[in-house]
């Protein structure tokens, strides 16, 4: 029971974290009414996973590993792209805000942005959920998945949902500026891990054939097969013997996004009359 619990709580926390970030983002835009769309995306993805796993189990087939790994790899890259865009937008808004923060932003999202957000929620749940449900359901016909096993799995998802709720509610207490800043940091760290992990998935799918050398091995310090190691792997992309491609992508993203994050110019504010710039060089005098 502990085993299934640890698997689902680990994957569940990653799903819940992404959903909490997305909902927080929508809330910061004053778009709480769009929460429904996100929940529908999550619901559809979760249901699809359960249905697919059940169907496969009933006909005693297994999904081609390479297909699952490729799906995971590409959805991870998609997630990194969308999350990065969100983080940079939030950063620009945060930087441009005056001290008298307007908490009641009502910024409508374009249809494209909303679609991207719902897709991100759905693919995040679908990606982690697919592998987890396939793993939990598999072999239930050969008697090795009893009631405690399923119960442990469900409990894990429940705890993960609680953690997600706690993160969401906690972040909603933060002043907008701090919320943007914190979310951005979380996204950068998550994103670096996701990007590094995505290439290992594509490698497992035989889409990438060479990851490069593996310059070190920290397996004796934190084993990738231990419980803490697996948590670090899922949430932060930890690998005890990472390849140069993983290392390169990780640091490129972390430092690149970090730099953008620190040095991105703030969003333009509407200038007050006193701020109208003076005469252009060599040009006409100001009115």
């Amino acid at each position: 029971m502990t085993f299934s619990f640890l698997v689902t709580v680990r994957e569940g926390v990653e799903m819940a974290l992404v959903v909490a970030i997305l909902l927080g983002y929508l809330r910061s835009l004053g778009q709480r009414r769009q929460f429904r769309a996100v929940w529908m995306g999550v619901g559809v993805a979760a249901t699809a996973c359960v249905l697919l796993a059940t169907a496969l189990e009933l006909v005693s087939r297994e999904l081609d590993d390479r297909v699952v790994e490729a799906f995971e790899g590409f959805t991870m890259i998609f997630a990194v792209v969308i999350l990065s865009g969100m983080a940079l937008w939030m950063r620009r808004q945060a930087a441009g805000m005056s001290r008298e923060l307007r908490q009641d932003l009502d910024r409508a999202l374009s249809r494209g942005s909303m679609t991207a957000i719902v897709l991100l929620a759905a693919t995040s749940v679908g990606r982690e959920g697919l592998e987890t449900t396939l793993f939990l359901f598999a072999g239930s016909t050969n008697g090795s998945s009893g009631v405690p096993f399923i119960a442990g799995g469900l409990l894990g998802f429940a705890i993960a949902a609680l953690i997600g709720a706690a993160i969401y509610h906690g972040s909603s207490r933060l002043p907008l500026k701090q919320f943007f800043f914190a979310s951005g940091l979380v996204v950068i760290v998550l994103g670096a891990g996701l990007l590094a992990t995505s290439v290992t998935k594509l490698y497992s799918a035989a889409i990438i054939t060479n990851l490069g050398d593996r310059p070190w091995d920290t397996e004796h310090l934190v084993s990738i097969t231990s419980t803490p190691g697996k948590f670090l792997n899922t949430l932060l992309g930890y690998d005890s013997a990472p390849s140069t491609l993983q290392i390169g992508l990780y640091w490129f993203y972390l430092l690149g996004m970090g730099a953008l994050y620190l040095f991105l110019p703030s969003a333009r504010r509407v200038p007050r009359p006193a701020e109208v710039p003076g005469p252009a060089p060599g040009g006409a005098p100001s009115p």
């Binding site: 502990t2 640890l6 297994e62 490698y203 054939t209």
Partner: protein
């Protein structure tokens, strides 16, 4: 409210993870991956036995191991030249658990982990230079063979051999390196037939200067 939720959500998993305490000893089964194979292909375990698979990749390509068809073994990538230790607990029902051992996008080998609950146990006592057993025959099926070293000073081993038509033997499995005064066991699923218990230590091995088998450490045995 959110703080309370957070505390609950943190405390419960820590408690559960701590309770699933991992202090009980585990038996290590080594799996060696080469470019074409994964050895051994049919390790044997008992129901609920706690195992550590020590997977060593001796090949040039990275390999992965993953439980399939319900085996609760999450996938692990074993880079070329490295070893990874993976803990696993056998299920409570007998049967075959399948471990897929493969090169991403390449060759696949299935390691069949046999979960066997032995109904019978045969104990063979080993001493220089003879073997005696507490039974001369046993029923076919899952059998636990125990090798008991009753010597004071010499290491022995217990091998279970099947005589072939040409006079040679097929080694079905052995318990090696049993120290004086100690025991070791091995599980085998044997069909009806005639078998031989043997100690195969040769001159130069385990501090011995003689061939144990030639000196008389052999005993006929039957599965009915």
């Amino acid at each position: 409210m959110s703080r309370f939720l957070f505390l609950v959500a943190l405390v419960v998993p820590v408690l559960l993870a701590a309770c699933g305490g991992d202090d009980a000893p585990r038996r290590t089964i080594g799996i060696t991956q080469t470019d074409d194979a994964c050895i051994p292909q049919r390790p044997v375990v008992t129901p609920r036995e706690r195992i550590t698979f020590a997977v060593t990749n001796d090949g040039k390509k990275d390999r992965e191991v993953e439980g399939i068809e319900g085996m609760k073994f999450e996938e692990v990538l074993v880079p070329s030249g490295r070893t990874r230790n993976i803990d696993w607990t056998a299920p409570s029902n007998q049967g075959v658990q399948k471990l897929k051992c493969y090169v991403p996008g390449g060759s696949t080998v299935i390691v069949e982990v046999n979960v066997i609950d032995p109904k019978e146990t045969v104990t063979a006592s080993l001493i220089e230079y003879s073997i005696t057993a507490d039974k001369s025959f046993v029923a076919a099926g899952a059998i636990r063979f125990v090798g008991r070293n009753t010597s004071q000073s010499q290491i022995h081993e217990l091998a279970i051999l099947r005589p072939k038509a040409d006079g040679s033997f097929e080694n079905l499995g052995e318990v090696e390196n049993i120290a004086p005064g100690k025991s070791g066991d091995i599980l085998l699923d044997l069909p009806v037939g005639k078998y031989v218990f043997a100690c195969l230590i040769a001159p130069g091995e385990a501090g011995s200067t003689v061939d144990h088998f030639k000196q008389g450490m052999r005993l006929d045995f039957e599965v009915k």
